[in-house]
């Protein structure tokens, strides 16, 4: 699995290669329940380069920060930036961390070593106030420029703040019903920074954005001779799949710079998650990528089960149910993605409706089993919430064996050879394999560029190691291949499903009693699944209490957007929409 298992050896253990190479600057993380290394901030870039070039950890999965804060006197307060790395050839993770003081948190940026760190570092700056020294464009990303404070810090309070942790005290037994808005009314619920004058406030988000665009345009070509215009695509536009905005700078019809603007749907999901108890987060994960709530549940359950250990290992039948649900989700998600990619190509809604007809039938199964079509809230720590009702498994079998293969073939016949799809898709938005890895793209985007990296195979979780399937891969890295790969993946999912519905045993679906409050031992864990949109990871830290101390979501649609500018620069503005469609984002997950 990892270099070290969760039960970290005593610091006296034999120093590893890395420690020998950088004596004093790299130390093992000796806190119980933690893994990996703690790197000195000054040496970070050197160590990161060595790890990438010499040890082969070329895929930066996640960068995030944790605020270790306590207002007790003499508490050891610091901010920790956590990096999770993998090899693009498969295998376990390497974790390293940098610890910096809270009031002066400066960490060297890794953007030029791992370009995929770009948005993630911006996010950590935005939400935690970690300054990444050397980042080329360190603006806020989810909040707006000019926002006061860093909302994931433990001492930050939201305007409608009620209590530090759930469950809130006034719910029972006194039950004084009120809405927090009434106690904390709008207009009086915001704390302004000292000396702030609302009259003198000047909006600074757009100037910063256009400034950044201009710099990027100059980097593209020094001599700006033709007149360039800035166009905003979105945030309210059907082709942006939600409230997403692309600010593009055009030279004629050619894009010379593009900056995605997001956060319109930001609700500080992670902070909500840290106020919640462990189990409460499960339905909240549904609302991330609301098209594939089962996969979201899966990732979170895995991360927490890793911390809970053996006593939360799901029984056989639950494992099979999890796989069945996750693969059905993948199919329904890809149907949606293909349908809406065709919308973006201008084939307005006929393909989309053909595709989502099949999705509808899958959602019927979810509804009958979990109670809800999209917000499934189905996984529990140690199993799933309930078994299939009578007849549902047969329904799944029918779908998997008869209807879906036929319909996927029909979609294939309908679109794949279509000349218009080909000419709009081939050689558009090309990503080379090296770029795909460097930019931390995941899922279909990565595999369409010729990198056969699928977590189900590369670092198997659940019972995926039991199934026979191929990792779908395509080699051109263009929009057309990103369409094709989704067809391939649906077929592979059907293949897995066929095996799963055949092998699924009878039996229990839950280990233990499914208590309403779970005990999670202190420590950290990173659980990741191959979601339909790519690697969906959850980084959780427990301090042994009823609420997670840190809850971070590595959102594939968010990180896949890092490469959007690269894909679009130099191509026509009409292709920006198609490129975006081929990444397949869901704003609930991008903005969190």
């Amino acid at each position: 699995m990892t270099e070290q298992t969760a039960t970290a050896p005593a610091p006296a253990a034999e120093p590893t290669e890395l420690e020998k190479r950088f004596p004093g600057a790299v130390k093992r993380d000796a806190r119980p329940g933690y893994e990996g290394y703690v790197v000195e901030a000054g040496k970070l870039r050197e160590v990161a380069t060595a790890i990438r070039d010499e040890m082969g950890y070329d895929y930066l999965s996640s960068v995030t920060a944790v605020d270790y804060f306590s207002d007790a006197p003499n508490a050891n307060n610091f901010i920790e930036v956590v990096y999770h790395l993998y090899k693009s050839t498969g295998g376990g993770s390497l974790v390293y961390k940098v610890q910096v003081p809270r009031d002066n948190s400066v960490v060297p940026s890794l953007v030029d070593i791992y370009p995929g760190a770009d948005f993630q570092e911006r996010e950590a700056w935005d939400l935690y106030g970690v300054k990444f020294d050397g980042h080329p464009d360190l603006r806020r990303i989810l909040m707006w420029e000019g926002f006061n404070g860093h909302p994931m810090r433990k001492d930050w309070k939201e305007p409608y703040f009620e209590e530090e942790l759930k469950p809130f005290k006034n719910r029972w037994p006194e039950g004084q019903v009120y809405r927090i808005e009434d106690h904390n009314p709008f207009g009086r619920n915001v704390k302004y920074p000292a000396g702030f004058d609302p009259e003198g406030f000047r909006e600074s988000a757009d100037p910063a954005l256009y400034d950044s665009l201009e710099r990027a345009a100059r980097a593209y070509s020094e001599d700006i001779d033709t007149e360039q215009v800035v166009v905003n695509l979105g945030p309210q536009h059907p082709s942006t799949h939600g409230v997403f905005r692309m600010a593009v700078r055009l030279d004629g019809e050619t894009i010379v710079a593009l900056k995605p603007v997001m956060g319109y749907l930001h609700r500080n999901h992670e902070q909500i998650g840290e106020r919640n108890t462990w189990i409460m987060n499960m339905p909240f994960t549904d609302r991330l990528d609301y098209l594939s709530s089962m996969s979201n549940n899966f990732g979170y359950a895995l991360a927490v089960e890793k911390l809970m250990g053996e006593k939360a290992a799901p029984p056989e039948r639950a494992q099979y149910i999890r796989v069945i649900m996750a693969e059905l989700t993948r199919i329904s998600n890809h149907l949606w993605a293909i349908g809406f990619l065709l919308n973006d190509l201008g084939a307005f809604f006929t393909p989309a409706l053909y595709a989502i007809t099949e999705r509808e039938l899958i959602l019927d199964i979810f509804e009958a089993t979990t109670g809800s079509r999209m917000m499934c809230n189905y996984f529990r720590f140690g199993g799933v919430a309930r078994d299939f009702p009578a007849g549902q498994l047969d329904k799944i079998k029918d779908l998997v064996r008869e209807r879906l293969p036929r319909k996927i073939d029909e979609l294939d016949l309908y679109l794949t050879q279509n000349e218009l799809v080909r000419s709009r898709g081939e050689n558009v938005g090309v990503i080379t394999p090296e770029e795909a890895i460097a930019y931390s793209t995941a899922g279909p985007v990565l595999r369409a560029s010729g990198v056969p990296y699928d977590i189900r195979r590369a670092d198997p979780y659940g019972i995926y190691d039991r199934f026979d399937f191929d990792v779908a891969v395509r080699y051109h890295g263009d929009v057309y291949d990103r369409y094709m790969i989704r067809l391939d993946e649906m077929r592979q999912s059907l293949h897995i499903l066929e095996q799963a519905v055949k092998q699924i045993p009878e039996g229990e679906i839950m280990t233990g009693k499914n208590p309403y409050q779970v005990r999670v031992p202190a420590g950290e864990s990173y659980g990741r699944v191959e979601g339909p949109k790519g690697e969906l990871g959850y980084y959780v830290v427990s301090n042994g209490k009823a609420n997670p101390y840190r809850y971070h979501v590595r959102a594939p649609s968010f990180i896949n957007l890092t490469i959007l500018e690269k894909m679009c620069v130099g191509s026509k503005v009409a292709d920006a929409v198609v490129n975006l469609g081929s990444i397949d984002i869901v704003l609930g997950e991008v903005d969190r």
Partner: protein, 207 residues
């Protein structure tokens, strides 16, 4: 040849188009506005028109479907209603958006908590329909309803449901969720039988 792909695509749409009529003729007018027709349209064999004409037609909701919670009330032999709820507070503690408020009282004489809650509120604007309250209630007192037509003109007062509005007789629950109800009743009966047995075992040596 250039254009073959487009033609193939058009063929697919044409097939869809024709199938609609074929299916309509086959069903001889029974495809719409009949329960069998609706069931057929959401089955694996469906071809042609797929949509359901809400609100004239409605998809039947599956038993597990969950929307807003309801509180169950048992009817005794005199026709009085009793809450199953014991105000234990578990649902309020597990509710993710914290939209349940429970008022528990004490008996003025014994100072012990009275089981039945004085009042019970759920802010259905905030409720995220997760179903946790029903899942974790140890007394089968709170369950998820099937009624999804809840639109109102006012969001401040009408959408905070109180106990009166939340309460439904157990018979209603038995009707919307028959298999769940049967399973739970069997469990409760088994448990009650165990209790009787245990009491008998206790009483036997004493006598």
């Amino acid at each position: 040849m250039y254009g073959i792909g487009v033609l193939k695509g058009m063929w697919v749409t044409l097939v869809h188009f024709i199938q609609t009529f074929v299916d309509d003729i086959k069903w001889a007018g029974k495809r719409y506005y009949t329960p069998e027709g609706i069931a057929h349209r959401s089955s694996k064999d469906t071809k042609g028109i797929f949509t359901v004409q809400y609100p004239e037609e409605k998809l039947p909701v599956p038993e597990e479907f969950r929307y807003i919670p309801i509180l169950l009330q048992e009817e005794d032999e005199h026709g009085n209603l009793h809450d199953r709820c014991t105000s234990c507070g578990i649902c309020a503690k597990v509710c993710p958006p914290q939209c349940i408020w429970i008022v528990r009282t004490e008996d003025p004489v014994t100072k012990r908590p009275v089981p039945e809650p004085v009042d019970f509120f759920i802010d259905v604007d905030i409720c995220m329909n997760c179903g946790y309250c029903a899942e974790y209630c140890p007394f089968d007192a709170i369950k998820m309803d099937h009624d999804y037509e809840l639109a109102t003109f006012d969001r401040h007062v009408q959408n905070i449901y109180n106990k009166e509005k939340l309460s439904k007789p157990v018979s209603y629950y038995a009707k919307i969720r028959p298999t769940n109800y049967a399973r739970e009743e069997a469990l409760r009966a088994a448990e009650a039988a165990k209790k009787v047995e245990a009491a008998a075992a206790k009483a036997a040596p004493a006598s």
